[in-house]
Assembly symmetry: C2
Homo-oligomer: 296 residues x 2
């Protein structure tokens, strides 16, 4: 039973309204081609604003039922499909998250996920803006939908095998990573290649280790650093889908805006798990130190 999915790999243009309008066109085009699940990139409605720290930028945040959520919910209901989106969430006065949203053929939110691992390095000042998600609200919990249990994680989470494993142990059918990752333009080409390859390798590794398909949707385009300190970020695209043995099913080997479509077979997971039954042999008696910062 194949699931038809679409990945919208997009650049930010001008403002939220214009960008979402374009996103809507992409989603409609995907729906017309039979998409049942549409995945959008991290913080798709706005610029990647974390390149510098500015208190004013918290104005970009919106609640779980804010304008971006309403826009996505209406499309999910109208087009009768599942949409994975992403917002800068204002949870309360002074409490903000980087949050993925899922709508399942309805204007009502099917579920959300608040990014658990928050990066912070020059040009990516996310610890300033985003409170890490709570361990259990919702934490590493797949979101039930009509197309399966979606293990939605966000960007920096993709480097953590623990996050993928916890989603798999909670019976996720697929791992989905909305992402905004790119190069600093001055970086040399060999290092750029290693970074991009590492990003793909680690996620394909999660697919293998958990026998689950993985969907990664990344932003494209150059975005300037408003502070002028750096040369900005070239978001590297390269969105991809792999199957439960890590095999590439789809890969945008470029940085152009595009809608990518493919099919995945959520039944294949169990077939692969019968050949390579990793879950059977996990040494759950010997993993307790995974909860330690370091074993010193």
């Amino acid at each position: 039973m194949a699931l038809t999915l679409a990945l919208v790999q997009q650049a930010f243009i001008d403002d939220r309204h214009t960008t979402l309008e374009r996103t809507g066109q992409h989603i409609r085009a995907a729906a017309a081609q039979g998409a049942e699940l549409v995945c959008l990139q991290e913080l798709h409605a706005g610029p990647y604003f974390c390149q510098h720290q500015s208190a004013e930028l918290f104005d970009l945040a919106e609640p779980l039922d804010g304008p971006t959520a309403q826009f996505l919910g209406q499309l999910a209901a109208e087009l009768n499909l599942v949409i994975v989106g992403s917002i800068f969430e204002r949870r309360a006065k002074g409490l903000y998250h980087n949050t993925a949203l899922v709508f399942d053929r309805s204007t009502e939110l099917a579920g959300f996920y608040r990014k658990m691992h928050i990066p912070d390095d020059p040009g990516f000042y996310e610890k300033y803006y985003f409170t890490p998600g709570d361990a259990d609200q919702p934490g590493f919990e797949p979101i039930e939908t009509s197309v399966g249990k979606l293990g939605v994680l966000v960007c920096w989470d993709q480097w953590y095998p623990e996050a993928a494993r916890l989603m798999a142990l909670a019976d996720a059918d697929v791992l989905i990573y909305p992402t905004a990752i790119g190069w600093e333009p001055p970086e040399d080409d060999a290092e750029k290649q290693r970074q991009r390859d590492a990003w793909m390798l680690v996620q394909r590794g999660h697919a293998v280790a958990n026998n689950l398909p993985v969907i990664a949707i990344n932003r494209v385009g150059h975005e300037v650093d408003p502070s002028g300190v750096t040369d900005g970020i070239d978001f590297w695209g390269n969105s991809f889908v792999c199957g439960p043995q890590g095999e590439l099913l789809l890969h945008a080997e470029h940085q152009q805006e595009t809608v990518l479509m493919t099919e995945i077979d959520l039944q294949r997971c169990e077939q692969v798990r019968r050949i390579w039954p990793y879950l059977r042999d996990r040494r759950v008696d010997a993993y307790q130190d995974v909860t330690r910062r370091f074993r010193d």
Copy 2:
């Protein structure tokens, strides 16, 4: 500070004596070319005997100071290098393990590791022969040597991100996987390719997730199934070394017996960890369910 290492990718020939003699020639050749660390494949002194179940085969087992250990220790002392070997260990009457051994320029054992995750599927009846390693004797503990802290794991362990992580958290400098993995000859080519790629992907993924180099040494050659039930196993070679971004430094894209040599830079780990500081952001407050069989 580069570390020169050698991987001996070998086929079993005739008997233990003949095979170890050949191994000795390979190690001497590697030493002559400056190897400081030599890695051998899983159960390198014998056939891969787990293709069928036979109580007589427990006669192949030897203690931690048995003939294979003595052979390796003498070479490590004579040639002044570190050797990672692998034996079918007889720990006590009726208690056997699949055990990696490390000798550090001495006949004395520097450390050992008893395979923690034990596979079992047609042609690979390891649960019959091998008791899983104890959680803490030695468990997931790197072995201190003059060339660094070696995170030695064995074959089936390579599919488990938990094992790699626990070694990294115990300050391993490198992950090393002696392996005996192959295809059943009747399998179709596309599936063979997916299996081999998955095997490489998941280990390169551990490199990325932990910012550590990974060394995988696999057996070559066809070994018949003495029970005649299957067509035997084609061990797929493809031994490789990757750096802390998962980048391939060495790869034997074939199934021939060979000694592969390369250099790795154990200092690069810390440079990479400064760019991508995953250890900083692990959600140790939210990982406790990793110790559960399933989150149901």
